[in-house]
């Protein structure tokens, strides 16, 4: 039972991490563009900043 609780906690935390990463990588750029078009510049730049920064080594590849 205790093993199951620990295992499910790890699964929940990982699911959260994956979802957040997906949102930051794929949803933040279009969302920020949309916000910019709506005139919410400050919020748009905050959202854009959430996109994981690339170190330039793989030309901004988002796969990792």
């Amino acid at each position: 039972m205790r093993q199951e609780i620990i295992a499910l906690t790890i699964v929940t935390a990982t699911s959260g991490f994956l979802s957040l990463n997906f949102l930051r990588t794929y949803l933040a750029p279009p969302l920020s563009r949309w916000l910019l078009k709506q005139g919410h510049a400050k919020f748009a730049f905050w959202v854009r900043k959430q996109t994981p920064a690339s170190n330039g080594s793989c030309s901004g590849c988002k796969s990792c």
């Binding site: 093993q3 990982t14 994956l18 730049f45 330039g56 080594s57 030309s59 796969s63 990792c64």
Partner: protein, 629 residues
């Protein structure tokens, strides 16, 4: 809005500008301590890069590395980035306050033409005369004082890759600092023919005064090019080089692969013994270790592939291969410049798609972007390796040439052929138009630098391990939950995994893929495989590990060969050759085309092609009697 843009603008004090392949990025790396990608072919840098340099007076300087260009009269997207930044017209990048013009000392005439153009901008300028060692070895004697006097700017000889001349260069930049003024927008006008002619006449005048002894042609390069660029001999050599690379990927990786496999297996056993049977032990052994370990074993093969790519790039052979392929590419309607993006796509389609910025015409560029993901990227390598090792006998075909290596070569070759066929179709339907000629500067041959290769391999290893430790690990954990819960009801007749969430979803989608010979486990693994292709291996490993513990975690290949027919394996291989199993590729296509239309089209055409291809191969293989397990 404009106020905000002003706020987020950063001032780059110095920008590096020059012709393509003159060593700007090598100089940028040398003065900033960075490790941006360098290569011995034009068009490596297609985006601006930022770094920081320490000046002799203790102050720091922001340095901007710009894509190479022959003039401010830009024709391609990467050149446009350079021009807009230099003229202060870039939306978010401010204009540099000073410039380091980088010129290849062995190619002064072309380089100085651009320097004169930069001088006209009125931005404080220092000339870094790069690769002077190469020019000297070819007999060049240059009077730098006269050159500096005639140009009216400081000239510093440098050898960027050996970090020679950097102190003097930075000292000159330091002196320039006192002249730095607030950047003023420049009203630049496209020069007419007379202005261009007079600029090159000025270059000739300056060179006639400053050159004491001219550079001799690179004899070795000329001699080697007689073979390498020969239509028949050169093509044979290219095929031989590629065949050798694929043989090496299999044979050289065997020992390190075995070590990693044993290590992963040992770790799984130890964790199992330590934790005892239970859900946590299953999560760690069947989910994490099986999932990540199954992908990790392919690291040696990926590194071998990249080592070859880096050696070929550094030596100058890649640009020759592009030249050699121009005729063939022209026949299918692709621009000669498309070769480098397509070649980059062998590593990953994302930098490949980005490097299409060097292609002038939108139609040519779009054609290249759409076919680039068909080139076999390194993420496909683990899938190919696993299936080939499991289903193709490791027998010798002819001497050292083995069947597994040949099949791997065939899969890469199939990707290329289908990409070229699709290019023909696109050029005849969507993107009709004339094919422009290729104008490309061939670099001289150079000995590949060990440091460069080492850095490249280190970077690739870090990226691969990072991916294994983040995306693949996370997907394996989530997938473990999906294949383990809910548990099978009491008195269930089927395997417990069939009652799990993944089992339910897999069984629901399976009918769609049954004509291709895919079972529900493949379907379940294909879904997370959309995040990154190699994730599919980790997912398969988790599914099979949870389903059958008794076989151990390191024998995924053996489990697959027991569960799948050869027809199914061939069908899955064809699916992986053709399908667009990569979110990141679609995202970068959207960014580069500025529309969702093209990534949607890319996904649809590639998925349809994959379905059709897999269906055909599966049914052909079944007809040939390969459909039995």
């Amino acid at each position: 809005m404009s106020k905000l843009i002003t706020q987020i603008k950063k001032t780059y004090d110095v920008a590096l500008a020059g012709n393509p392949n003159c060593g700007k990025t090598a100089l940028f790396n040398a003065i900033t301590g960075g490790n941006a990608k360098v290569g011995n072919y034009p068009g490596v840098t297609v985006e601006r890069k930022v770094g920081r340099a320490l000046l002799p007076d203790g102050s720091t300087l922001k340095v901007l590395d710009l894509p190479g260009t022959y003039s401010l009269n830009s024709r391609t997207l990467d050149e446009e980035i350079t021009r807009n930044i230099l003229l202060g017209k870039h939306a978010l990048e401010p204009m540099p306050k000073a410039l380091i013009a980088v010129v290849d000392a062995t190619n002064l005439e072309r380089g100085l033409g651009f320097v004169l153009e930069l001088r006209e901008l009125g931005i404080p300028l220092v000339l870094a005369l790069n690769m002077v060692d190469l020019a000297k070895s070819r007999g060049q004697v240059l009077n730098l004082e006269i050159l500096s006097r005639e140009l009216g700017i400081p000239v510093v000889p440098t050898v960027a890759i050996q970090k020679e001349g950097l102190e003097k260069l930075l000292a000159e930049v330091c002196l320039l600092k006192s002249d730095l003024k607030p950047a003023v927008l420049i009203d630049w006008k496209k020069p007419d023919q007379n202005q261009i002619r007079s600029r090159f006449a000025e270059v000739d005048r300056i060179l006639s005064l400053s050159i004491v002894q001219a550079t001799q042609p690179a004899l070795w390069t000329e001699r080697l090019d007689q073979i390498v660029l020969h239509p028949v001999l050169g093509t044979c050599l290219l095929v031989l080089v590629l065949a050798f690379v694929f043989q090496a990927i299999f044979s050289w990786a065997e020992i390190p692969k075995g070590f990693i496999e044993s290590g992963v297996s040992w770790l799984g056993d130890q964790v199992g013994l330590w934790l005892g049977k239970g859900p946590l032990e299953s999560l760690i052994v069947d989910g994490m270790i099986a999932g990540v370990g199954a992908v990790l074993v392919f690291l040696p093969q990926i590194l071998i592939l990249f080592a070859f790519i880096l050696v070929l790039e550094d030596s100058g052979y890649m640009a020759r291969a592009a030249f050699l392929m121009d005729k063939l590419m022209g026949k299918v309607g692709l621009h000669g410049r498309a070769f480098i993006p397509l070649l980059s796509s062998f590593a990953c389609a994302i930098p490949g798609i980005m490097s299409t910025r060097t292609i002038e015409q939108r139609k040519d560029r779009l054609t290249t972007i759409l076919v680039a993901p068909l080139m076999t990227c390194s993420a496909r390598l683990p899938v190919y390796s696993l299936l080939i090792a499991a289903f193709i006998p490791n027998m010798s075909v002819w001497g050292p040439i083995r069947l597994q290596g040949l099949v791997m070569f065939g899969l890469y070759f199939a990707g290329v052929v289908i990409a070229l066929l699709m290019a023909v179709i696109f050029r005849m339907s969507l993107f009709r138009g004339p094919k422009p000629n290729l104008l490309m500067e061939l670099p001289t041959y150079k000995l590949p630098r060990l440091k460069n290769i080492g850095l490249g391999l280190m970077e690739r290893s870090v990226l691969f391990l990072k991916k294994a430790g983040t995306v693949i690990l996370s997907v394996s954990i989530v997938l473990w939950f999906l294949v383990s819960y809910p548990k099978a009801p009491v008195g269930a007749h089927e395997a417990a995994i069939s009652y799990s969430y993944a089992g339910i979803v897999g069984h629901a989608i399976e009918p769609l893929f049954r004509p291709l010979g895919f079972n529900w486990k493949i379907v379940v693994a294909l879904i997370p495989g959309l995040a990154a292709r190699e994730v599919m291996i980790g997912s398969l490993a988790t599914v099979y590990a949870v389903e059958g513990r008794e076989n151990g975690i390191a024998l995924l290949g053996q489990r697959l060969s027991e569960d799948w027919s050869i027809a199914t394996a061939l069908s899955l291989l064809v699916w992986y050759v053709l399908a667009c199993q990569c979110f990141s590729t679609l995202a970068v296509t959207r960014r580069e085309t500025n529309s969702w239309r093209w990534p949607a089209f890319m996904f649809l055409y590639m998925t349809s092609l994959a379905y059709l291809g897999s269906f055909t191969i599966y049914h052909l293989a079944v007809k040939m009697g390969l459909g039995k397990i």
